[in-house]
C-alpha cells in the first residue's frame, strides 16, 4: 500500500502545524501506520491539497477539492485526541 500523505495546515505554518504534524506522525507510527506528513499555511492548502490523502488543520480552510479535511485543535489541547485519531484512521481508509 502506498504511504498515506497528510497535509497539516495552520495560520502561518510557524507553530501549531509543526506541533500537530509531529504529534500526528508519532501517534500514527505507534499504531504501525507509516505516513508522510507535510505542513503549510492555510492559504497554501488549496494548491497543495490534490496530492494529499487528508488535510488536518487548526484553522478553517476552503477550496481544497475532494481531499477530506479534519479541523481540530485536539493535538494541541489534548482534549478529544483519541477520538480524532480514530477519525484520521477512518478518513485514510485504515479501519
Amino acid at each position: 500500500m502506498a504511504k498515506k500523505r497528510i497535509l497539516v495546515a495552520c495560520g502561518t505554518a510557524i507553530a501549531t502545524s509543526t506541533v500537530v504534524a509531529m504529534k500526528v506522525k508519532e501517534m500514527l507510527e505507534k499504531r504501525g501506520v507509516d505516513v508522510f506528513v507535510d505542513q503549510c499555511k492555510a492559504s497554501e492548502a488549496p494548491s497543495k491539497a490534490s496530492s494529499f490523502d487528508l488535510i488536518i488543520t487548526t484553522t478553517p480552510v476552503s477550496g481544497v477539492g475532494d481531499t477530506p479535511v479534519i479541523r481540530t485543535i485536539s493535538f494541541l489541547s489534548g482534549v478529544g485526541m483519541e477520538k480524532d485519531m480514530e477519525l484520521i484512521l477512518e478518513k485514510l481508509g485504515l479501519k
Binding site: G11, I14, T18, M22, A42, P60, L76, S77, V79
Partner: protein
Amino acid sequence: MSTLFTLRSDLIFLGVDEGGKEETLRFLANQLHEKGIVKETYANAIIEREKNYATGIPLEKIGVAIPHTDAIHVNEPAIAVAILEKPETFTVMGSPDDQVSVQAIFMLAIKQPSEQLTMLSSLMGFFQQSDVIEKFMKMDSTEEMRALLEKELQAP
C-alpha cells in the same frame, strides 16, 4: 542544560489587568520588546495575527492562548506569560464562531520553528497535564513558575 527558549522570571506576570485583550497582548509584547527579545514591529504583528488566526485553546479545566507571529519580528526565542486577574475572551483557534475564557496567556517569540519544535511540543504536553497546570496557576512566585516551566519544557 540549555533551553531553546529564553524562560525568565521577569517575563512572567501575575494578576495582569490591562483592561482588555488587545491591551494585554500589547503589554506582553512590549515587555518582550523592552528586553530586546522582539522587534518593535512584533506587538502590532501579534495583534493583527490574533484577529485573523486566533490562538485561544480550551484545555480540560482552563482556557489559555498562545499568541505568536512570524519569525521576522523576533530576535531571540522566548516565552512571556501573563496570568490574568480576570479572564479575557479569546476566539478559539480554528473555530471563528467559538469563544474561550482565557486565564493564562503564553506569548511565543519563535525564531526557528524546526529547532524549537521540541519546546513547542513540550508546551502542549504541559497544557495537557491538568494537575500541573492547576499547580502552575496557583503559584505566587514567578521564580517558582519559571522553574516549573523549565522542568516541563525540557526535552524528555
